[in-house]
Symmetry: C2
Subunit: 363 residues, 2 copies
């Protein structure tokens, strides 16, 4: 049997730097645990645009469809702000999500003990926090038609369409219920059913799916109330399921609240392939951070933990994933801190590459 395959797409900004550290972890597994991967690497986002005039080359897209897992760094940057919408770096990422049909985006919002003081929230509000946001990733207003800027009378009008079919809601709801079963058996679904018909359908379908998961306690919340409750007392949640756009805002807010933004990974999963593995893309929650790119200041932990998620969800190597996560905890407990984990208070940060080395050593 051939080795499992990984396509690495470092992308823009700090993407390449943090990905270099992930490659150290991958090499460690090859050398010390004899777990080998077929690793290939390619361009995405602004980097792909610079090389090919498109944020995702068709060959890269085809390769992404074949591999067992894609690891992505980050896309975007001010350099590309003036580009036409159709070739912006983000379109590369959105095309990957859509064509790989990665409908279930898992975004843990977790507060690392060593960092509980670092949140803008009070320590008792976030210490020990561990929730999972499941965001629908291939439909809704991100992809609905009609969309565009049109002439209408004497002026222009900007249009986007929120669109969810029953089966689209059903499948992401199921993935959230499955996760809830393996966690605290509590699921909160968020929409604006009081204002949007798509929210009404969302609520209906989620309620229907719940019948197959009688052990999971399901609740519903309007997304604005959800934003409030995340800020007030996030520990009331276990798993949250929501649509593409609400998930974008709510998961970013939740990530920031943990104080661990540079630490948070994500997994985007699709349907099982012929080999039984789900189509999958793993990426840090943080963005390309162009302001610190190329300076060795970036925190590689989110990207390394994204690889840990790949071990767990794509390669069925749960205990190896635990090992990576434990190594990160050890590094932090021993005081390893990149600049983002130090605030204003002095103390010298270590570099991206030093953090990678410390984590590999802890493995």
């Amino acid at each position: 049997m051939s080795n499992p395959s990984i396509l690495i797409l470092p992308g823009d900004g700090i993407g390449p730097e943090v990905m270099t550290e992930v490659k150290k972890v991958i090499s460690w597994f090859g050398a010390k645990r004899d777990i080998q991967f077929d690793v290939s690497e390619d361009l995405v986002g602004g980097a792909a645009y610079d090389a090919h005039g498109t944020p995702l080359h068709d060959d890269t897209m085809a390769r992404a469809q074949e591999v067992d897992a894609v690891l992505l760094g980050a896309v975007g940057g001010p350099k590309y702000d003036e580009l036409d919408f159709s070739v912006k770096p983000e379109r590369g990422l959105l095309r990957l999500r859509k064509e790989m049909d990665l409908f279930s985006n898992l975004r843990p919002a977790q507060c690392f003990d060593a960092l509980a003081d670092f949140s803008s929230l009070k320590k008792d509000v976030v210490a020990g926090l561990d929730i999972m946001i499941v965001r629908e990733l291939t439909s809704g207003i991100y992809f609905g038609e009609p969309r565009g800027i049109f002439e209408e009378g004497n002026e222009r009008v900007g249009i986007n369409t929120q669109r969810y079919t029953e089966s689209e809601i059903d499948r992401v709801a199921r993935s959230a219920f499955e996760l809830a079963m393996r966690r605290g058996k509590k699921l909160c679904s968020m929409e604006k059913a009081n204002v949007m018909e798509s929210g009404i359908l969302w609520r209906e379908v989620v309620t229907e799916v719940a019948k197959d998961y009688p052990e999971v306690a399901l609740s519903h919340m309007y997304a604005d109330a959800g934003a409030m409750q995340l800020c007030r007392w996030p520990k009331q949640f276990d798993v949250i399921v929501t649509d593409n756009l609400f998930g974008d805002l709510l998961s970013d807010a939740a990530a920031m609240l943990t104080g661990s933004l540079g630490m948070l990974p994500s997994a985007s999963l699709g349907a099982p392939m012929a080999n039984g593995r789900p189509k999958a893309l793993y990426e840090p929650v943080h963005g390309s951070a162009p302001d610190i790119a190329g300076q060795g200041k970036a925190n590689p932990i989110a990207c390394i933990l994204s690889f840990a998620m790949a071990l767990r969800y794509s390669f069925d190597l749960g205990s190896e994933a635990d090992r990576v996560e434990a190594a990160v905890e050890t590094a932090l407990a021993n005081g390893a801190r990149t600049a983002d984990l130090l605030g204003e208070e002095g103390a010298t940060p270590i570099s991206t590459s030093e953090m990678g080395d410390v984590i590999v050593a802890a493995l």
Copy 2:
């Protein structure tokens, strides 16, 4: 000249209770300052549905169009959860906003000194916070067509449409720039121009309007990053302008962050009427809180401060508005606390009506 007119719509849940306290304040102005208002009262939301089978009677709608200001308590409650979408309590409020064309929704997120400890955020993050979110209120996905739940093949699909014309963006942007001129001269516009064409048009129009306000420093932020930054360091903002749906989530998150949710008023303003006053509706940011309704536990301050906003924006009585706000500060400084301002820690709260009395006494 006749007295300025106010239509009071207490609505559902704690709405009637908090509005009773506002009426005390209105009476105080009549008795002690000889400032008289023609006050009428009517039903909205579930209360209107119970009486008339519709969440807003046509007569009430017509009256709202005529008066100088509408004061609204809150709408909604679990009792109405099973109602058809078209007659849900929220439809009454949305009809008022739409038919009065109240396009500019002002939502201050302010942290009251006496309550800085009460936020889930650290004190230094929120103490002294005073930002204003301007939310577009009559367009976007709340009202765009097509909308509904349709059959498509073998399944149903839920559809809503985000739709913004240049003139809709222009007018709300202008109202935000005007506000910024009277405040810190800093405006941040939030959208998802990296994903939505309606966001691209939004950014373009706001940038164009900025040319008429060269003194205001304009910045743009993606709404997900905006949610993050509000949670991280809200004091970086002065005025924020955003669309209907993003404004719904972001303003609720911001309100909760201040720790002063029961304290926050809002003003929804339209175009000037024949008498020069803008069409206007004032309401607290908090909802109908059905769990504590009828128990005398609700905090009437948000509703009283909404009346203060009416004094300022509808009746040009800025110094009288200051007087009400100062009375609230005095009451708080003297230790007056409704249950929501006490947390779990003991200390006996005062009732809704006692809080109203303390504030009137402080006037």
